[in-house]
């Protein structure tokens, strides 16, 4: 089990952690290069560029080009990060990622900010709620969703030594820092953050914090909830999730992403095959978002601790039948 940071949680920027980690890497390793697409200031790869001006390549609003360039860098032995907003870096570029990255297995590190509903006032065009679905569907692709700033920094370091391509999504909005700096982070393991025996709440990204809150509320109702932070969506930690299925007998998945082909779908496929248990899915219900403040949107679209609690109570009831 990993620890949970003491409450009140600090609200921190994943982008800042990302930028700091990139600079640490750049200092250690002259082979690290970063390709950006006219978002280098907001995503903070500019910080890397200020420190290492010859290793940041701003290629303008040419995201397909950006991905292929990063692949070319990787083919020449560079540790290549490509970084922009998720909607541009993942949705606009799908076939380039498919052919030049996933098919080739070239180990580029695609780190995208502004994923999900919490992109906020920019509205539906910028709120990519389908990136996990897109990326986990690609053979050879690894998909990371850090829960907070510290995990984002650790994901940067973990991605460097990973042999294949990595997609990592994070947010424009400050997230509560729920993990502790001392906690380990590896690509692969799902981290149990709170033990419990009646139900498992499996979450990624900001929904980890919501599930931790939900677990508190459920405890008051006499329901013991296990909370698992699934920071690696692919490859999925099936051992840990199946253990949870056997030991708790029910699941709620929670993600700031469409429920179509996201974390919940990934878990359901494993559970349905190996150890079927009742399950509910908290996430964006196959709709586009809209403009609004991040936390207003999470409320409106049902990404709250209360919704997790309701879903959990339904699962517990179905278990009893």
């Amino acid at each position: 089990m990993t620890s949970v940071a003491p409450i009140p949680w600090k609200m921190e920027s994943q982008r800042s952690y990302f930028a700091k980690a990139l600079i640490e890497l750049g200092e250690k390793n002259p082979n690290v290069v970063v390709v950006g697409g006219d978002t280098t200031e907001s995503i903070k790869t500019m910080d890397f560029g200020k420190k290492f001006p010859d290793r940041l390549f701003n290629v303008g609003i040419t995201e397909q080009n950006m991905i292929s360039i990063a692949a070319g860098f990787a083919a020449a032995g560079k540790i290549a990060f490509a970084s922009t907003y998720a909607v541009f870096g993942v949705a606009h570029t799908y076939n380039v990622i498919r052919q030049n990255v996933a098919y080739t297995k070239l180990p580029i590190k695609l780190f995208c900010s502004h994923a999900g509903l919490t992109t906020g006032p920019d509205g539906a065009t910028h709120q990519l709620n389908e990136d996990i679905a897109l990326m986990r569907g690609l053979p050879n692709m690894t998909v990371l969703v850090p829960a907070d700033g510290p995990q984002t920094a650790k994901a940067v370091h973990a991605a460097v030594d990973w042999p294949g391509p990595v997609y990592c999504r994070f947010s424009r909005t400050n997230f509560p820092t729920v993990t502790s700096v001392e906690d380990p982070f590896e690509i692969g393991p799902a981290y149990v953050m709170r033990d419990g025996s009646d139900i498992t709440l499996a979450a990624c990204g900001i929904m980890v914090s919501r599930c931790l809150q939900a677990a508190e509320e459920l405890e008051a109702e006499g329901v013991s909830a296990r909370v698992i932070n699934v920071s690696t969506i692919k490859p999925l930690d099936t051992a840990s999730l199946l253990r949870a299925a056997r030991e708790t007998g029910g699941f709620v998945s929670a993600e700031e992403h469409t429920v179509v082909h996201g974390l919940g779908s990934a878990i359901a496929a494993v559970v349905a095959q190996e150890h079927p248990v009742p399950m509910e899915f908290v996430g964006v219900q196959d709709v586009f978002g809209e403009s609004g403040e991040a936390f207003e949107l999470m409320e409106k679209y049902g990404l709250t601790a209360a919704k997790v609690v309701e879903a959990a109570m339904r699962v517990v009831e179905r278990k009893g039948r």
Partner: protein, 300 residues
């Protein structure tokens, strides 16, 4: 901008296996390369015939350029396909991979007999190039328009490492339709990539017809010029012109060079030349016999 101010390093090309001075090249050498190109064309026809699929037309139009590169220009080593200091040939027009496979086989990267597994199950020679499987293949291609960007990444890496290896990217003219090609063109110019040479196989035909009818490209040379490239236009079937243009590209500093190689689709076989159908259709048994005879194959 933090990424400006990159100066091309002062580096001298060290000579290695396969490097030739192209100026004052002998007639004998030209004849040798032309014979090699005929051999590759025969391979292309047999490869596509045995599986009755693939793209012979665009493979044959690019054949002289590919021959010049693999048999006179590129510093590559079939014993060590991943030699870090090798030149990179990026085949952006992936559908024309028969010509690449034929060149690689004749250059010793894999047995010539393996060519006849092209597009067959369990083959290393995929219908469009796969990276990491086929010795000597430097990129995956098939979806058009990605190769030049990939080449930009390679060329930037070579420059960062102050390496003398060069990048050659072969594009089709159909690929000039693709937006990403022009994204890469802008980027190459921004970074003054004079270690990158692009070659356009300007055969004038794409899958469904003439390029100028499907989506007009002309004036193509002016477009590239206005994008900041050094533009050379040549007859892409004249071996001496091809070698001369590549030599000029090497000598040109501060800008990437694009060679617009005017070619004929299906070049080398009278009844295939300039025929749209042979973009993606293999020859019949009888056509193959006639074609091979035209290309100088001596029947056994």
């Amino acid at each position: 901008m933090p990424d400006k101010g990159l100066k091309p390093p002062e580096i001298s090309r060290t000579s290695g296996a396969g490097v030739g001075r192209t100026v004052d090249i002998s007639d004998a050498k030209i004849r040798e390369l032309e014979a090699k190109a005929r051999l590759l064309r025969r391979h292309i026809l047999k490869m596509t015939h045995q599986v009755q699929s693939g793209h012979p037309g665009g493979s044959m139009s690019a054949c002289d350029v590919v021959t010049a590169l693999y048999f006179h220009i590129l510093r590559v080593d079939s014993e060590s396909p991943r030699w870090p200091d090798r030149d990179r040939f990026v085949m952006s027009k992936g559908h024309a991979c028969p010509v690449l496979y034929a060149a690689l086989a004749e250059r010793g990267f894999f047995p010539v007999s393996e060519l006849m597994t092209f597009r067959r199950i369990n083959s290393r020679l995929q219908g469009h190039p796969e990276y990491g499987t086929t010795p000597g293949v430097e990129n995956a291609a098939g979806a058009e328009g990605q190769g030049l960007s990939f080449s930009v990444g390679l060329a930037l890496a070579a420059r960062l490492d102050r390496k003398a290896w060069r990048v050659y990217c072969l594009m089709g003219d159909g690929e000039q339709d693709v937006g990403q090609t022009w994204e890469a063109a802008l980027t190459s110019a921004k970074f003054n990539l004079d270690n990158l040479t692009a070659i356009i196989d300007r055969n004038g035909i794409q899958q469904e017809g003439r390029t100028e009818e499907i989506l007009p490209l002309e004036p193509l040379a002016d477009k590239w010029k206005s994008f900041g490239w050094n533009v050379l236009t040549i007859n892409g079937h004249d071996m001496r012109q091809i070698l001369h243009a590549i030599d000029e590209a090497h000598a040109h500093k501060g800008q990437p060079t694009v060679i617009i190689a005017k070619t004929t689709k299906g070049r080398g076989v009278s009844f295939m030349e300039n025929v749209v159908k042979y973009h993606g259709a293999a020859t019949s048994d009888e056509e193959l016999r006639l074609a091979l005879a035209e290309l100088g194959e001596v029947p056994p």
